[in-house]
Symmetry: C2
Subunit: 326 residues, 2 copies
């Protein structure tokens, strides 16, 4: 564990690409913190974090950002809950929950006037939301997972790969995608730059949409969902619908989501993992269901693919959310 010498208090001039890459993580929850803390280990990267959780921001600025578990890092990060404080950046990495993308990127867009912004979020439609405020956008998918255990402290549960590629309608240059991927990889977050990042993205969306709502509706961990024959069959039926929608868009999955599901169900991997959606339900927070199963259903409608089971679990989770308000 090493602490990079602080740059806090320094006067920060305009971006000078040959000496310093300035990256702002937008939404510094569990996944955002993994990127922020690891990237801050690099001598040539300066990391900012924009987040609305004041206690978390305060703790990061006071004591550093602590990550422990699958990897241990203590990082100096410039955290703020004031979008106006974020200086011009080369890159943004958006890691908010999907329903907060629009507001968070609208607030910080000015900092990315000359930069490119990547999504590493769950679900479908995040890049579209980013592209409403920012010129050059990077489509991304990331598999590492963790959770915020206290202000400034993140538990790193699972390591994993990240894939970045240009967002087709409003792309960052391949050079930009490669520079960001290179920084992440050097920081210990293995990241591939690819031409078409839709395959990994849809693999993860299908994985999440087929498993997270079942955990959220039943209260079962990923492993327990998968060891019940009846629920595992439902998972597969949701996967089949998701694959059909991907296929109708000529998206080639980089691997079968079923493999990922079975792998994660292993006792030594994520058997005991409560899906983030279940964590949301237990905390009575809005879930990302609109961007997971909702995203699959909408894409299905656009391409004449029927998705009744994704529609069913979407409706059930929305109903569950509605029950918290009378």
């Amino acid at each position: 564990m090493r602490l990079r010498p602080t740059v806090q208090g320094q006067t920060l001039g305009p971006v000078q690409r040959d000496r310093l890459l300035r990256i702002c993580v937008v939404g510094c929850g569990a996944v955002g913190s993994l990127f922020a803390a690891n990237l801050a280990q690099l001598e040539d990267v300066e990391v900012w974090a924009y987040d609305l959780d004041r206690a978390h921001v305060g703790a990061i600025n006071r004591d550093g950002l602590h990550v422990s578990g699958a990897g241990d890092v203590l990082a100096r990060v410039h955290a703020t809950d004031e979008a106006g404080d974020v200086p011009p950046c080369d890159f943004g990495i958006v890691a908010t929950k999907a329903m907060h993308t629009d507001a968070a990127v609208a607030a910080t867009a000015r900092a990315f006037a000359d930069g490119a912004v990547a999504s590493v979020q769950n679900g479908l439609g995040n890049e579209d939301a980013i592209a409403r405020h920012v010129q050059r956008v990077i489509r991304g998918t990331t598999f590492p997972a963790g959770r915020l255990v206290a202000p400034g402290r993140v538990q790193w549960d699972v390591k994993g790969d990240t894939t970045l590629g240009p967002f087709e309608p409003q792309p960052a240059s391949l050079d930009e995608v490669e520079r960001l991927a290179d920084a992440c990889t050097r920081a210990g977050m293995p990241t591939a730059a690819v031409d078409d990042a839709r395959g990994p993205q849809w693999r993860k969306v299908i994985f999440n949409a087929a498993t997270n709502p079942l955990g959220a509706l039943t209260g079962l961990t990923h492993g327990r969902v998968c060891e019940r024959t009846d629920l595992r069959a439902l998972v597969s039926m949701l996967v089949v619908e998701g694959k059909a929608v991907a296929s109708a868009q000529a998206i080639e999955l980089d691997a079968d989501p079923e493999e990922l599901i079975d792998h994660a169900a292993r006792k030594d991997v994520a058997y005991d993992h409560k899906a983030s959606m279940l964590q949301d339900v237990e905390a009575r927070r809005a879930t990302e269901i609109d961007f997971l199963n909702g995203g699959i259903v909408r894409a299905g409608r656009d391409h004449d693919v029927s998705t009744p089971l994704n529609e069913a679990v979407w409706a059930l989770v929305k109903g569950l959310e509605a029950s918290w308000t009378s």
Copy 2:
């Protein structure tokens, strides 16, 4: 409200059909209590109740069975948790939860050696379970609803009709069906005796299977399930599957379950009603899902009708039940 003179303590001889009809309600929860209390108002009917809830049995024997709400009745009923105490009866009315039918009828069967036994339960398969222990069986469906609010006290939420008919493989005589229906009707529980009681039964099963699990999984009342466009659409898709399975068995529904669903959703009917399955989930009790959606799925398999959505909600509710044990 009137209290029928007690016959408790009397020596009860063999059934004399011209003077007294002896009926035992097997499972004296909410619905069982509505039958027991109302039938006990008739001068020519003697009512017994078999139930394993000792506090409830004790309160009934001590203070009578109190029903209030849609109707107010105070009834003298012979309650017992000892099956051996039940004397020979003309009729049994089984009103346990579906998963307890077999055990409850096995225990009391001796009392019905010369009698006929009706189910007024939810779900599919109850008559088959009764027929394993009793010679002459009546298929029944009832719509009144209520809840046990304290030992000996039942809240009557909704009035409704009952339909009785011979159970095809092991039927009671039509005369028996008519005698029981007549007693119920005279007691204030309007009951029709019909040749084929499968239509009303399937209408209610489809109603329950299409709505109860959605309440149980989301926590919403019947009215709130129905006013959400997405959940109401799921209800209809479940109804469509149920109708297809009924139709494959040449069962003619006596009315469209959709009408019943919309009627019940009215603010002046059952908008605020929590489905019994939701009550079970809140109390972490096993639900009747195996006999509702499970029954539809099994019947569908027997008749080559695919029922993916009933299968999905069946799996989800079973998963939810499993989450209560770690």
